[in-house]
């Protein structure tokens, strides 16, 4: 199939009804929050993060799913952008894969383990004007025979500001505070992000396979973790 999105929609159980709210999908699951001060480290990370497009978003990924840092699905992904009249070279986000110790410590808290791919931890810094268009994740690549064991966590690294857009299904995540942790149904829920605000929108994204410790953490309703 030519279209990445059309292909992924077929496997999704999401309702794709703009006017329906299904709590199973149109939401982000709140996991808890980190407490601490990482403002200096974040400042450094924002400075050194690198701008990427859909084509260049996996610079350090040496898996079979990339070819010299470009997704093997790039033709289908760029087809979607072309079809909608967008610019395939539009910057989607800035990334930093070299986590500073405090962010690595956050990532380690989830006790994820590698599957067919290594644990992926990176900081997303989205600047004004950057847009990551609507998509469904292909995270099944971590453990294709047990997709329920794969988790993706978001750690918000600064307070929400107006103009910071994160949409999951029909739900807009807003009003969050620095340190809050979320996860979501990555297999089914289409999502997108953009920044039309005045300051950067930064979050840590960690993906991997759940261990028993991960599941224990998820079983608690409101984790508070001091960093």
């Amino acid at each position: 199939m030519k279209s990445n999105l059309d292909n992924l929609k077929k496997r999704s159980n999401y309702h794709f009804d703009p006017f329906k709210t299904d709590p199973a999908y149109d939401t982000m699951k709140y996991v808890g929050r980190f407490e601490g001060d990482w403002s200096k480290e974040l400042e450094e990370t924002v400075k050194r993060s690198k701008t990427v497009t859909l084509r260049t978003r996996n610079p350090d990924d040496n898996s079979v799913y990339t070819n010299q840092g470009t997704s093997v699905d790039i033709v289908a992904e760029e087809y979607d952008v072309d079809r909608a009249g967008g610019d395939p070279d539009h910057p989607i986000v800035n990334l930093d894969y070299e986590l500073l110790p405090i962010f690595q410590k956050m990532a380690d808290t989830f006790k994820l383990v590698p599957g067919e791919r290594e644990i992926q931890s990176r900081v997303h810094v989205q600047h004004q004007g950057q847009v990551w268009p609507l998509h469904i994740d292909k995270v099944q690549r971590w453990k294709p025979d047990d997709i329920d064991s794969i988790f993706r966590f978001f750690v918000m690294l600064e307070d929400w500001q107006p103009g910071h857009f994160m949409q999951f299904g029909n739900h807009f995540l807003s009003g969050y505070r620095a340190g809050e942790i979320y996860t979501f149904d990555w297999y089914n829920v289409p999502h997108c992000t953009a920044n039309a605000g005045l300051g950067p929108r930064s979050n840590l994204l960690i993906t991997g396979v759940a261990s028993e410790e991960t599941l224990k953490l998820l079983a608690k309703p409101n984790n508070v973790i001091k960093i």
Binding site: L5, F16, A84, D87, Q128, G129, V131, P162, A196, G197
Partner: protein, 240 residues
């Protein structure tokens, strides 16, 4: 001249100073006013505008339809974009004038405004109108200059309405103050306090987002419509 506004380097800083909004992202507030829902058929007009009339706009070129030369506010707006790390030449929407289209003229007439301008916007994938406060830079009262107009002193004299021309689709966003307006239905119309409420729009989705923007000088009718506004007010736009 006495009546020239002193913006300094930044449009945002100047307009923020004039605003009475709270600028506190933790407050849960509704920062727009629903006016009505227009009921009518305009798919053909939208298709024609998208296929033959609209032109892509940046901040600097968004009022080319009215002002052929350099827009007086452009350098202050580009300063804000650069300061925030954005590309000053980013596309914000595709735009066309829409006075000649009967359903859109009928919509504009409903507001009872004088000297109304009718603009058609289509925002496509990746386009974004960043966080800003209105100042109606393209209006003829401004004369493409920093002149202070009567509406700056009495903002009730002017008003802008936005009318969505199609149902909301995933990935489309219109944020006004701390309110995130989405899941709109075709024909729904809102307004906001233009001198106070910052707002932004973006299309992260894969479908066109056509919208009508009507701006003009208010009359008592306009003010009454705002006072009694609700999406449950259905306004039929007849055959044209």
């Amino acid at each position: 001249m006495d009546n020239q506004q002193e913006w300094g380097e930044s449009r945002w800083d100047f307009t923020k100073e004039k605003s009475n909004w709270h600028f506190d992202p933790t407050i849960v507030s509704t920062d727009y006013t629903s006016i009505c829902t227009f009921n009518g058929e305009w798919e053909q007009e939208v298709a024609e505008l998208i296929s033959t009339k609209v032109v892509p706009s940046t901040w600097a070129t968004r009022n080319k339809l009215d002002i052929p030369g350099k827009l007086y506010s452009a350098s202050k707006e580009e300063y804000d974009l650069t300061r925030a790390g954005a590309n000053p030449d980013m596309e914000i929407f595709n735009r066309a004038v829409a006075h000649e289209y009967a359903p859109f003229k009928a919509i504009a007439d409903y507001f009872g405004m004088e000297e109304a301008t009718i603009k058609f916007h289509n925002q496509t994938t990746g386009q974004q109108l960043v966080w800003h406060i209105d100042n109606f830079a393209g209006r003829k009262e401004r004369g493409n200059s920093f002149v202070e107009i009567d509406a700056d002193k009495n903002p009730e004299q002017m008003r802008r309405f936005a009318i969505m021309l199609d149902d909301w689709k995933h990935g489309q966003v219109f944020q006004l103050g701390n309110s995130n307006w989405h899941q709109w239905k075709k024909g729904q119309c809102i307004t906001w306090e233009w001198q106070d409420v910052p707002h932004a729009t973006c299309n992260m989705g894969w479908n066109d987002r056509p919208m009508l923007q009507v701006t003009g000088l208010t009359t008592s009718r306009t003010r009454e419509l705002v006072k009694s506004g609700s999406f449950s007010n259905v306004v039929d736009i007849g055959e044209h």
